[in-house]
C-alpha cells in the first residue's frame, strides 16, 4: 500500500511539473510586452528596458522558466503586472471564495445525484427513472452561465427570493452569505449532479444484474439491505472516480458563475487577468487550480486503493 501511495505521489509530481511546462510555454507566445503593459504607453524605452531587467524578461527562456518554478516551489508566484501586487497574496485572497462555493456544490451534487441515480436504477423503466433521465440529460447540456441567468431572472428579479449578485463571507454575515451563495451553488452543482445521477444509475444497473445480487435476493434479504450492503458497495467505485472529474468541471465552471454573480474568486480573477494580459497572474492561477485538481485525484486514487486491493497492484 505504501509503495502504491509513493508511486502515485511521484506521478502527481511529474504531472504538476508538466503543468508548469505547458502553462509557461503557452504564455510565452502572449502578444505584447509585459514590461510595456506594466508601465503604460508613455514610458521611455530606457524605463521599459529597466523593468524588463527587473522582471527578468531579457534572460533566456530556460532561465526564466527555472526561476519561475523555483520561486513557485517556495510559494512565490511573482508580481502581478496589472495590479502590481504579489500573485500569491492575490490568489490567497480569491481562492477561499472559490473553494467554498465549489465545495458546497460538490456536496450538493453528490447528496442529490447519487440517491437519484439509485432510485432510477431500482425503478428502472418507471416514471421516476424517465424523469431523472430527462433532468440529467438536460443538466449536462445546460450552460452554467445560462442557468445562472435564468435563476437570476426568476428567483431574484421576479420572485425576489435571493439577491441578484454579490458575495459575503459566511464568517461576517452567515445569513446574508447563505442567501447570496444558494443560486451560484445550485448552478455550479447542476451539471455535476446530472453526471452523478447517470453514473450511479448505470453502475447500479450493472451490479444489480450480477449473480451475487440474485443470491442475496434469493436468500431472502430485505431489498434495502441488498441495495445498501451489496449493490451500492460494489457500484460506488465508478462514482468515486467521477468525483475527480467533476472537481475539474466545477472549478472550471466557476469562471462563468463568479462572473455572472459577481463573486471575487479565482474564476473571475482568471478572466480579468486574461483581459488585462496579466500573464503572471494567469500562470499562477492555472498552476494553483491544477495542483488542487491533481491532489484531489491523488486522494481519490489512494482512497480506492484502500477500498479495492486489486487497484493497488496495477
Amino acid at each position: 500500500m505504501i509503495a502504491f501511495i509513493i508511486r502515485r505521489l511521484l506521478q502527481t509530481v511529474i504531472v504538476l511539473f508538466m503543468v508548469t511546462l505547458i502553462v509557461f510555454s503557452i504564455l510565452q507566445v502572449l502578444p505584447g510586452d509585459p514590461a510595456r503593459t506594466l508601465l503604460g504607453p508613455e514610458a521611455s524605452p530606457e524605463q521599459v528596458e529597466q523593468i524588463r531587467e527587473e522582471l527578468g524578461l531579457n534572460r533566456p527562456l530556460a532561465v526564466q522558466y527555472i526561476t519561475w518554478v523555483e520561486h513557485a516551489f517556495q510559494g512565490d508566484l511573482g508580481k502581478s503586472i496589472a495590479i502590481k501586487e504579489d500573485v500569491t497574496g492575490i490568489i490567497g485572497e480569491h481562492l477561499p471564495k472559490t473553494m467554498y462555493i465549489s465545495f458546497l456544490s460538490m456536496v450538493l451534487a453528490i447528496i442529490i445525484g447519487v440517491p437519484a441515480g439509485i432510485i432510477a436504477a431500482i425503478k428502472r423503466g418507471g416514471k421516476m427513472d424517465s424523469l431523472i433521465s430527462v433532468v440529467s440529460n438536460v443538466g449536462m447540456a445546460v450552460p452554467a452561465f445560462w442557468l445562472a441567468v435564468l435563476c437570476i431572472y426568476f428567483f431574484s428579479l421576479k420572485l425576489g427570493w435571493f439577491p441578484v449578485q454579490g458575495y459575503t463571507s459566511p464568517f461576517d454575515d452567515f445569513w446574508l452569505s447563505t442567501k447570496q451563495v444558494i443560486m451560484p451553488v445550485i448552478c455550479l452543482a447542476f451539471a455535476a449532479l446530472a453526471s452523478f445521477a447517470r453514473q450511479t444509475r448505470s453502475a447500479m444497473l450493472e451490479v444489480i444484474m450480477q449473480d451475487f445480487t440474485r443470491t442475496a435476493r434469493s436468500k431472502g434479504l430485505k431489498e434495502g439491505a441488498i441495495i445498501i450492503r451489496h449493490t451500492l458497495k460494489n457500484a460506488i467505485i465508478p462514482v468515486i472516480t467521477l468525483v475527480g472529474l467533476q472537481v475539474r468541471n466545477i472549478v472550471g465552471s466557476t469562471i462563468f458563475i463568479e462572473q455572472v454573480f459577481n463573486i471575487p474568486g479565482m474564476g473571475r480573477l482568471v478572466v480579468q487577468s486574461v483581459f488585462n494580459q496579466d500573464f503572471v497572474v494567469v500562470q499562477g492561477c492555472v498552476l494553483v487550480i491544477a495542483i488542487i485538481v491533481a491532489l484531489t485525484n491523488l486522494l481519490i486514487d489512494i482512497s480506492y486503493g484502500f477500498a479495492d486491493p486489486r487497484i493497488r497492484i496495477k
Binding site: V23, V138, M140, A141, L157, R248, G252, I255, F256, V260
Partner: protein, 299 residues
C-alpha cells in the same frame, strides 16, 4: 463449378449478414422517439447553418434603430436586440459558428488524440510515459480554463477558438486510443500477426484502428456537445467569437443586460444551445447502445 457456387453463396451470405447487422443497428438506434427527435434537431441545425441566408427573415447584422428592443411579435418572433437586430435571424446565423466550431475542434482533437494514443500504446516505455503524463497534465487543468489560457495567448476569434477547443479535448482521445491499443494487442490474432512478422505500423492501422471505431464514434458525437458548450462559454465571456458575428454565447451575454425588460434576448439563444447539446448527447448515448456488441442489439 462447385467451388464457384460455394464462393458466391458465401458472398451472398455475407451480404445478408451485413444488411442484418445494419438493420439491427438501425432498429436499436432508432428505437426511442427521443433519438429520432434529436436527429431531427441536429438536421435542422445543419440546415440552418448551411442555408442561413435563405432561412433568416432579416439580415442578422442590419441595425434598425426604429426597432430597438422590440417585444416578440409576428414580424420578430424573438424580438430585437439593443441595436434593433432580429434575434431569430441571429440565432439562425449563430448555428454556423456552433456547427463549425463543433466540427473543426472535434476533428483536431480526434486526429491528434488518435495519433498520440496509438503511438503511446504501441511504443510503450518512456514514450508512453511521457505522452500519458503530458495528457494527465492537460487533464489536471479544467478544459475551459485551458481554453482561456490558449485564447489569452493566441487571441479570440473563430479560428483560434476552434484550435483552442480542439487542443483541450485531445487527452480524452489519447487515453481512449491507448486503452484500446493495449487491450487489442493482447488479442490472439494481433499477437499472431506480430509473430508472423507483420510490422508494428501495419498492425496498428489494420487491426487496432477498426476495432476502436465504435467508441470513437460515440466520443466524437458526445464531444460535439462539449465543444458547442465551450464555444458558447468563451463567447459569453467575450473571449470567443468576435462581435458583431452572431454566436449564441455572446447573444446570451448581450441580452443579460436587458434581463428585466427583455428576458427573451438571453432565453432564446440559450435554448438553442441546450436543444442542440441535448440532441448530440442523446444521439451519442444511442450510438453507444447500438454499437455495443455486448448488448447484441437488445435494449
Amino acid at each position: 463449378m462447385t467451388i464457384e457456387i460455394i464462393a458466391s453463396e458465401k458472398v451472398v451470405e455475407q451480404e445478408v449478414k451485413k444488411t442484418r447487422n445494419t438493420q439491427r443497428f438501425l432498429r436499436v438506434f432508432l428505437a426511442r422517439k427521443t433519438v429520432v427527435a434529436s436527429l431531427a434537431i441536429i438536421f435542422i441545425m445543419i440546415i440552418c447553418a448551411i442555408f442561413a441566408p435563405l432561412l433568416a427573415p432579416y439580415d442578422p447584422y442590419k441595425q434598425d434603430y426604429a426597432q430597438i428592443l422590440a417585444d416578440p411579435s409576428l414580424a420578430h418572433p424573438f424580438g430585437t436586440d439593443m441595436v434593433g437586430r432580429d434575434v431569430l435571424s441571429r440565432i439562425i446565423y449563430g448555428s454556423q459558428a456552433a456547427l463549425l466550431v463543433g466540427i473543426v475542434s472535434v476533428a483536431i482533437a480526434s486526429v491528434i488524440g488518435i495519433i498520440l494514443g496509438l503511438v503511446s500504446g504501441y511504443a510503450g516505455g518512456l514514450v508512453d510515459a511521457l505522452i500519458m503524463r503530458a495528457m494527465d497534465a492537460l487533464m489536471a487543468i479544467p478544459p475551459i480554463i485551458l481554453a482561456l489560457v490558449f485564447v489569452a495567448a493566441f487571441g479570440g476569434g473563430l479560428t483560434n477558438v476552434m484550435i483552442t477547443l480542439g487542443l483541450s479535448l485531445v487527452p480524452t482521445y489519447a487515453r481512449l486510443m491507448r486503452g484500446q491499443v493495449l487491450a487489442i494487442r493482447q488479442a490472439d490474432y494481433v499477437v499472431a500477426q506480430e509473430l508472423m512478422g507483420s510490422t508494428n505500423i501495419r498492425n496498428m492501422i489494420k487491426h487496432v484502428l477498426p476495432n476502436c471505431i465504435s467508441p470513437l464514434i460515440v466520443l466524437i458525437t458526445l464531444n460535439f456537445g462539449v465543444a458547442i458548450l465551450a464555444e458558447a462559454g468563451l463567447s459569453f465571456l467575450g473571449l470567443g467569437i468576435v462581435p458583431p458575428k452572431a454566436a449564441w454565447g455572446s447573444m446570451i451575454n448581450d441580452g443579460y443586460k436587458y434581463l428585466l425588460s427583455n428576458p427573451i434576448l438571453s432565453f432564446a439563444p440559450g435554448m438553442a444551445v441546450v436543444l442542440v447539446v441535448v440532441a448530440f448527447n442523446i444521439v451519442g448515448d444511442a450510438l453507444r447502445d447500438a454499437l455495443d456488441p455486448r448488448l447484441k442489439g437488445s435494449l
